[in-house]
Amino acid sequence: MGSKGSFKKMKLLIVEDEIKTGEYLKQGLNEAGFITDLVNNGLDGYHQAMTESYDLIILDVMLPDLDGWRILKSLREANKNMPVLFLTARDSVEDRVKGLELGADDYLVKPFAFSELLARVRTIIRRGISPINELILTIADLELDLTRHRVNRAKQRIHLTAKEFSLLELLIRHQGEVLPRSLIASQVWDMNFDSDTNVIDVAIRRLRSKVDDDFELKLIHTIRGMGYMLDIPDNNLP
């Protein structure tokens, strides 16, 4: 289904001492198409990371035996440069700076939405894959011309505002991935905090009315409780 294929066979290591959190993460990531290993303490996590090869490690900062920072430090010293995403219950600028200085690739504060984690994991992994510099993005009969800022659907020209264009571009670039509202707000409008309004819903509805309403094949989908996704529908969708 869609670009999910590009993440097939990606192997992740989850180091999380909270049993429930770890298991839900594993299940969620497995169902999103990743291969995952889960360990519940820092030492096992370190050994696993040193012996096996992973595309990404999801690392809890606060572990009872060996904390996430020390694991990351030891890994980097051993020249293991796989990307690392930190999970933490503490949110302070010092922590964030420390993590990023040690070479973490991202930092997520609990409680987080699973859709947010998934989006971040995909973003980090995509960094490793050389981007395809397409000038025209296409999905089904929708065409996005990046150089001329033009959108066509079934050869018909669709007029979008600048922000609507950015929104559509974001959705197409992440086709097949659920994008949480917070991620859309931050990527399109540079609003890095959650608003208590339904601004994103309104924006999506407007985009949808221009891109989807007049066509049989619906491309923009609402994933209840998670966010929005652009994809060619198949039978798996609710």
């Binding site: 949110d91 302070s92 600028v93 504060v109 409680p111 987080f112 939405a113 922000k163 707000a185 409008w189 540079d190 609003m191 890095n192 905090f193 959650d194 608003s195 208590d196 309004t197 339904n198 601004v199 309104v202 924006a203 407007r206 209840r224 409780g225 998670m226 609710p238």
Partner: protein, 460 residues
């Protein structure tokens, strides 16, 4: 670090040193002046005798009876304090000597004529004299040398006795002064100890206690006033904190109750997949609210306590608000509300925080604007401050609500509590951000419109 010397010790030492200096100078002056007094008395007496000796010398005849001469000199000395007199002629021949004491050993003053110089002379260790030596030429052209001596032992004796008493008094005086100043300082510090006692007894549930600035000496009233201010701030913060904890508990209780009830009811019998899904969707909305509330509360705690350093930069407010308008435009249009911006201004702020503060105000204004009306943002730069006004027409907010509008979890309409997506922290966050930047925010509301005004200090 070493604790500074106690005030009592310092003041006592200072007073004692001053008293010592004063007493010592006083004693020295006393002694000197008494000595001077004795000396001038002796000088006067010596001169008086010398004056009396001269006419007798003048009247002496060569062939005069030596006994007769002696008698005349003896007569002069009568009535004085046992002076000694010795008269010789130029060749050293003794003419008269009142005592067996050998005044010849008295060294003559170096300069001639001997004039009137008074010398000190000790015959032995016990006897001391003041000596006047004069040269006198009588009418028979014979130069005489008159040596007059007067004993100073009596004065010396008096002086040494006086000195003993004087120094005894000085030492006693210094000790008494030291003690007195110690007592005075202790007494003087009594209000300080009193105030310390009072402060020491204030416990966390008596933060509404105040010191009475008029009941303490004027030097301490400043301290009492500052301390009262501190107490007031503490009291307020403490109150807010306890209310806040209570509010958190209350705000969390409702969604958690909903979640528990809903889940238990759902599990009480078998349902269709669609029903389960519906319950999970509903749950996720509650969870999102909870998660948002936690994030907001942490943000507030950090901003209020300045935990994160502010990363300040120059911000063009016109551009920033245009961006926010861009973000809210579609939603506002949906609500048939238009947005307008007037003026230009620049501020020195943390961009993300300011954006968040303004975003909260804007969404709040748009939400409360009736259809077909406009939210207006006005920017103005005054001498040393920037004013940002966000105004919207709409239902007036009752004046009783206005001061509480920025309180955490405060809702004007209690029935709105559960229907809105808001966590009830938006305006509190805005206020906290503005205050962290050294600014302030006020709200006014009348029949036609509600207006929030932010004042930020202006810096280039």
């Amino acid at each position: 670090m070493k604790q500074p010397t106690s005030l009592t010790l310092r003041l006592t030492l200072l007073f004692s040193i001053v008293a010592t200096i004063v007493f010592l100078s006083f004693g020295w002056i006393m002694e000197r002046s008494i000595e001077k007094h004795f000396e001038s008395g002796d000088r006067k007496e010596l001169r008086l005798i010398a004056e009396a000796v001269r006419p007798v010398l003048e009247s002496i005849q060569i062939n005069q009876n030596p006994l007769q001469i002696k008698q005349r000199f003896d007569d002069i000395l009568v009535g004085h304090h046992h002076p000694l007199l010795r008269i010789t002629d130029n060749s050293g021949k003794l003419i008269y000597n009142s005592s067996e004491l050998n005044l010849a050993t008295v060294p003559l003053p170096s300069e001639r004529p001997y004039k009137e110089k008074i010398q000190q002379w000790s015959a032995n260790t016990d006897n001391h004299y003041r000596i006047l030596t004069q040269q006198f030429t009588g009418n028979n052209s014979i130069p005489y040398i008159i040596t007059l001596a007067i004993s100073t032992d009596f004065h010396q004796h008096f002086l040494s006795h006086f000195r003993l008493i004087l120094w005894g008094m000085i030492v006693a005086g210094i000790i008494v002064m030291g003690l007195m100043s110690w007592l005075a300082v202790r007494y003087g510090h009594r209000p300080l100890r009193h105030i310390t006692d009072q402060i020491g007894h204030i416990s966390s549930n008596e933060l509404n206690t105040r010191l009475a600035p008029e009941s303490v000496p004027v030097e301490l009233s400043e301290l009492a006033i500052s301390f009262n201010d501190l107490l007031q701030r503490l009291d307020k913060a403490f109150d807010q904190l306890s209310n806040f904890s209570a509010d958190i508990a209350h705000e969390l209780r409702t969604p958690v109750t909903n979640l528990m009830t809903q889940t238990q009811v759902a599990l009480s019998r078998t349902r269709t997949i669609e029903e389960y899904q519906e319950i999970l969707y509903s749950n996720i909305e509650e969870f999102e609210r909870l998660s948002q509330m936690i994030a907001d509360m942490l943000f507030l705690a950090k901003t209020d306590n300045n935990l994160d350093p502010l990363d300040l930069e120059n911000i063009d407010l016109y551009g920033e608000i245009t961006n926010l308008f861009d973000y809210y435009e579609a939603w506002a249009e949906d609500n048939a509300v238009s947005l307008s911006l007037e003026g230009k201004a620049q501020v020195h702020c943390n961009r993300l925080m300011l954006r968040r503060a303004l975003s909260n105000l804007l969404s709040n204004a748009i939400r409360h604007t009736p259809k077909e009306h406009a939210v207006t943002v006005k920017l103005e730069t005054h001498d040393d401050r920037v004013s940002i006004v966000v105004q919207n027409p709409g239902e007036p907010i009752l004046s009783e609500h206005l001061p509480k509008l920025f309180d955490r979890f405060y809702r004007v309409d209690p029935s709105r509590q559960r229907t809105s997506d808001s966590t009830g922290l938006g305006l509190a966050i805005t206020k906290s951000i503005i205050e962290a930047h050294g600014g302030n925010i006020i709200v006014t509301s009348d029949e036609t419109e509600t207006q929030f005004q932010i004042i930020l200090p202006f810096t280039d």
